[in-house]
């Protein structure tokens, strides 16, 4: 039984219990929103989406108001237009009018609203709150003056990530999102995942922009500047240039980086394959030597920092493997420098990551095993797009290019690192064949794919049934960690990614990153994998050569020094 509603004179049938907003969207009627987020609970706080419901004295928010049989709704009456306009003018009256300087310009929902509602000035007196900015971390910065009190960041931190470091504080016109005691993010247990940034409709939370450091390095003739790109970038960067979510742009990405002036364009996928070899062997070693189980992946720096803060007693469960980004940095300034006869001190490593926590990871004091800071600068997908635009590169006209060898050679197993379940699947492809000596029939482990919060599978490997668990988003991760902490975890091996959907849904990705967008990027990731000839990490010839020429063997002395790390109890 559907419910019939008449919106702007058109009668449509919608699912009972739908909100007016979803009914409007079904009827292709646009209702402006601000606090609404498709992946979050309804807040009905900003009131921008008010509409007229026949028989109601007051305007009603479309985002929360349920439809009923025979309801008559009008979404653009003079009263509605006046109310929306007035509210938007109020919001603009205390919002810094610095769109020209704002990194969110053109991706700002407030700016877009002003444009759509044709509001160009506000009759209300400008009242900037002049709140203190937070520039305490290397990843994220907060400019509370720009906050529109939509609370989407609060939901992202508390509900999506299960952390809750940001909350609405104060009352009335002093209401603003704060940490407890309004202390800087650096001094609280923030994992710097940037999901708050992804949720923010405006520029109140942004990444720390490091593009200038990269420009400086590129224009320094004494520097040999190499770049690595994470698996999640190639399925997202296109969105920054108007492409559909989930377009695969690997070839253009490589050429564009070359046009920017990088000396070598490499692929983090190379060290993703390497991670599988090291981590796979670490897992087998733990299994056969009574090591700490379950073993948990450690590729995701937000997840690692979360564990350091919240489960400091369980750090032994984390794989000691560095993340692919950091393995790359350590090898670029040792193996690659040696092989290509370049002074390690002149190698400058830039990585392009879907992630804001990667900036923190690269700055960790442990990440200097090459003798230098292993990764010099981490750019988010958005920062890279900014550089390409700044350089005047015409994206549409960029032709496809190929990664440089050897650190640009990879397999499909590495590509799927970007999606939740991908690391697990890649590891299983290798561990299965290494242990059983048999070739896998089907390479696709569907049980660990997709957007379900927690996924699990049991795989027969040799004599052993290996139970694996996969979680993404820290609220889901916490469920698995509680089991680990109280000793009831049923798993041998767990993959955890900090961000919903995995790295493709990271805090450094193009805006918007919603669950719908995440699913499209995930589909793209698997299409990249399927298109590869080599789909198992142990088939990567460049990795094999790396072991033969340099590392000697998995978990060996060199690996230990360059590719493995330790963790810090942060409490």
């Amino acid at each position: 039984m559907l419910t019939n509603v008449t919106i702007n004179g058109r009668t449509i049938a919608v699912r009972p219990g739908s909100t007016i907003l979803s009914a409007c969207r079904q009827a292709d009627i646009k209702v402006p929103t601000l606090c609404h987020h498709p992946d979050q609970a309804v807040k009905a706080a900003c009131r921008i989406c008010v509409v007229e419901v026949a028989g109601q004295r007051l305007l009603q928010p479309a985002c929360s108001y349920p439809v009923s049989e025979g309801m008559v709704v009008n979404t653009a009456t003079p009263a509605v237009r006046e109310a929306r306009r007035t509210m938007l003018e109020l919001l603009l009256s205390n919002h810094p009018a610095d769109c020209l300087q704002c990194p969110r310009s053109f991706a700002c929902e407030l700016q877009q609203l002003a444009s759509e509602l044709n509001v160009r000035e506000t009759p209300f007196e400008s009242r900037l709150r002049q709140l203190k900015q937070d520039q305490s971390t290397v990843s994220l910065q907060r400019i509370p003056d720009k906050c529109v009190n939509c609370r989407r960041c609060v939901h992202a931190c508390l509900t999506t990530q299960g952390i809750g470091l940001l909350y609405t504080a104060g009352r009335g016109r002093d209401t603003v999102v704060q940490t407890s005691g309004n202390v800087p993010l650096h001094d609280v247990a923030c994992v710097l995942c940037g999901q708050c940034l992804q949720a923010c409709p405006v520029g109140a939370i942004t990444e720390v922009d490091e593009t200038e450091k990269v420009w400086d390095a590129l224009s320094d003739p004494a520097k040999h500047v190499v770049v690595q790109v994470a698996p999640a970038i190639r399925v997202a960067l296109g969105e920054e240039f108007g492409g559909e979510a989930g377009s695969v742009v690997t070839g253009k990405l490589v050429s564009a980086l070359r046009l920017l002036g990088f000396d070598r364009v490499f692929d983090t996928d190379f060290t993703a394959d390497l991670t599988i070899i090291e981590e796979g062997h670490e897992f087998l070693h733990r299994l056969s030597h009574g090591g700490t189980l379950p073993m948990i992946t450690s590729c995701s720096p937000g997840w690692v920092k979360f564990t350091e803060h919240n489960y400091p007693e369980e750090l032994a469960h984390l794989s000691s493997c560095k993340s692919p980004q950091q393995m790359f940095g350590a090898l670029a300034k040792t193996y690659y420098a040696e092989q290509s006869g370049i002074e390690a001190s002149s190698v400058f490593v830039v990585s392009v990551m879907p992630c804001t926590a990667k900036k923190f990871e690269a700055a960790r004091p442990e990440m200097t095993s090459s003798g230098y800071r292993d990764v010099d600068v981490v750019l988010s997908t958005r920062e890279l797009a900014r550089m390409l635009k700044q350089a005047g590169i015409d994206w549409a006209g960029v032709s496809d290019g190929e990664f440089d060898a050897p650190l640009g050679i990879s397999t499909g197993a590495a590509a799927i690192f970007g999606a939740t379940g991908g690391v697990m699947e890649a590891a299983l492809r290798t561990v299965y064949e290494v242990v059983s000596g048999k070739e896998l029939g089907s390479l696709d482990f569907h049980a660990v794919r997709g957007m379900a919060g927690v996924k699990e599978a049991a795989i027969q490997i040799g004599d052993l049934v290996v139970n694996v668990g996969v979680a993404h988003g820290l609220a889901n991760a916490r469920q698995l960690m509680e089991q680990v902490a109280n000793g009831t975890s049923p798993y041998h091996f767990i993959e955890i990614m900090c961000c919903p959907g995995g790295c493709i849904g990271g805090g450094g990705q193009p805006i918007p990153t919603t669950n719908a967008v995440r699913e499209q990027r995930i589909r793209a990731i698997y299409s990249v994998d399927e298109a590869m000839t080599l789909r198992k990490s142990h088939q990567n010839p460049a990795v094999a050569k790396l072991y033969a020429d340099f590392l000697k063997r998995p978990l060996g002395h060199k690996s230990h020094t360059l590719l493995h790390t330790e963790y810090v109890k942060r409490g």
Partner: protein, 156 residues
């Protein structure tokens, strides 16, 4: 050591509130009442967050919402002058100004000797004897400028 003991006794004090309706507010009231400076310190917020199993930022958000809680130290006695309409029309602003001058503080400030904190408040619910103020939990009404000195003298 002393701090740890205080923390222990505070924990004992608020534990019974955990399962009560309005328990979180009761715990905050109890901790603030136990504070010599009439405020909720960061350690109090941390304790409430832990005992009630909610994020500390949420406790902070709650504390900063209600006007009876303070997150900064206050004087020995808290004067709250009502400035709502029923008091306003019978001279509350005069009372507030006079008090400010007598104590040499602005609303929100504490006297240099730490004796009084002057606050403005919304309706105290004793409008029958407006203008009114509260010193701690005592209400004083039918105020005139002349009565203020005697009222202040009651609080050492």
């Amino acid at each position: 050591m002393a701090e740890r003991q205080a923390n222990f006794s505070h924990r004992q004090m608020i534990l019974p509130f955990v399962d009560q309706p309005g328990g979180l507010l009761k715990a905050l009231h109890a901790l603030q009442n136990a504070s010599l400076d009439h405020f909720l310190a960061p350690s109090d917020l941390k304790l409430v967050a832990e005992v009630f199993g909610v994020p500390e930022a949420k406790v902070w958000g709650t504390v900063t919402f209600y006007s009876l809680y303070s997150t900064s130290p206050r004087g020995r006695h808290i004067i709250r002058v009502c400035e709502s309409a029923p008091c306003y029309v019978v001279g509350a602003m005069d009372i507030l100004k006079s008090l400010g001058a007598m104590l040499n503080v602005q609303p929100g400030e504490t006297t240099s000797d730490g004796r009084f904190t002057l606050e403005v408040a919304s309706c105290l619910g004793v409008c029958g004897v407006a203008p009114a103020l509260m010193v701690n939990m005592d209400v004083h009404g039918n105020l005139t400028r002349d009565k203020l000195a005697a009222i202040l003298a009651e609080y050492a």
